[in-house]
Symmetry: C2
């Protein structure tokens, strides 16, 4: 019972992300999402009573997924910064990811930026506490933010080789500055 509910919710959420990517973030309609998810509009509205609740779920699942993956990667041998760099690299190398749905949520209501901003700030503070060179950390943090931004907008500005080179440089800059770490490349 929870199985069916879960899969239906997930289908809707990924359908929403797909529609947002194809039609444009501001052109996400419930009808289109329902059609994409193979669900009737009534069914969609059963799972998400309002459009706003769908958007909220889109943002929340994205953030919690990311945090879980980050915590999973952040093991003993990898410092948080290295884990964050590598996770971001993997995410940006993937063919598609759920961030386009987040963009749709923001287009719908700019208030959705608040939890995202809080999340980012919390992450930066965590990174800050593990670094000795705040200046370099900031540059790396911003560079990852930039990489994610380019990916988010699906503008293929960088080639995959350039992205790899950028990640390599970041690890080189960041590795030496990580507190108590045996950072490997």
């Amino acid at each position: 019972m929870t199985q069916i509910k879960q899969s239906s919710r997930d289908k809707i959420l990924s359908a929403a992300a797909e529609v947002a990517r194809e039609a444009g973030a501001g052109r996400l309609s419930l009808d289109a999402v329902a059609a994409r998810a193979g669900v009737s509009k009534g069914g969609l509205l059963y799972n998400f009573p309002t459009k706003a609740s769908l958007m909220r779920a889109l943002v929340e699942t994205f953030l919690t997924n990311f945090e879980q993956e980050l915590d999973a990667s952040h093991t003993a041998q990898d410092g948080l910064l290295s884990a964050y760099i590598k996770l971001s690299a993997i995410e940006c190398a993937e063919a598609q990811h759920g961030a386009t749905g987040v963009l749709a949520a923001i287009a719908e209501d700019p208030d959705f930026l608040k939890p995202i901003a809080a999340f980012k700030r919390r992450l930066l503070d965590r990174l800050k506490s593990e670094s000795d060179d705040f200046g370099s950390l900031l540059v790396i943090y911003l560079a990852l933010e930039g990489m994610r931004s380019l990916k988010l907008f699906e503008t293929e500005v960088l080639t995959s080789e350039e992205r790899d080179l950028a990640v390599e440089s970041m690890l080189k800059i960041g590795a030496g500055r990580e507190r108590n770490s045996t950072a490997s490349l």
Copy 2:
């Protein structure tokens, strides 16, 4: 005559950016823009026959303004990279800038990303030709992209002091790598 037309156009363009920022990028309506600009809807549609043409103008003016400012900053004493870093810093420190309108255009139609991506790629290639250390350049380029992204979404993740520190670090990383003097554009 061109004066009046220009000021009216500009009023509409900045009004569109304001509406986008306040209501959300995906909630930009012509009625709201007209009201904001102190112009009738007829007047707006006289200047911009379709919504798409308004969006196009929003993107174009943003890109051309940026390129003009960059070329103006890029003097003999300042290399292109330094100029780009400083210009980005100034832009991100400003209370508001026109990029929110660009976001609205993207929300309306993802195709508007194409000219933006082309612009970014051209800029990166120009920077590339003036640098000896492509890895560091990429990190700086991405960091500026990230800074602009944070500003674009108006998420005040970084304090102004942190932003200054980041810029300082970028200049430090980038300055030594800049290929001196005669740069062929």
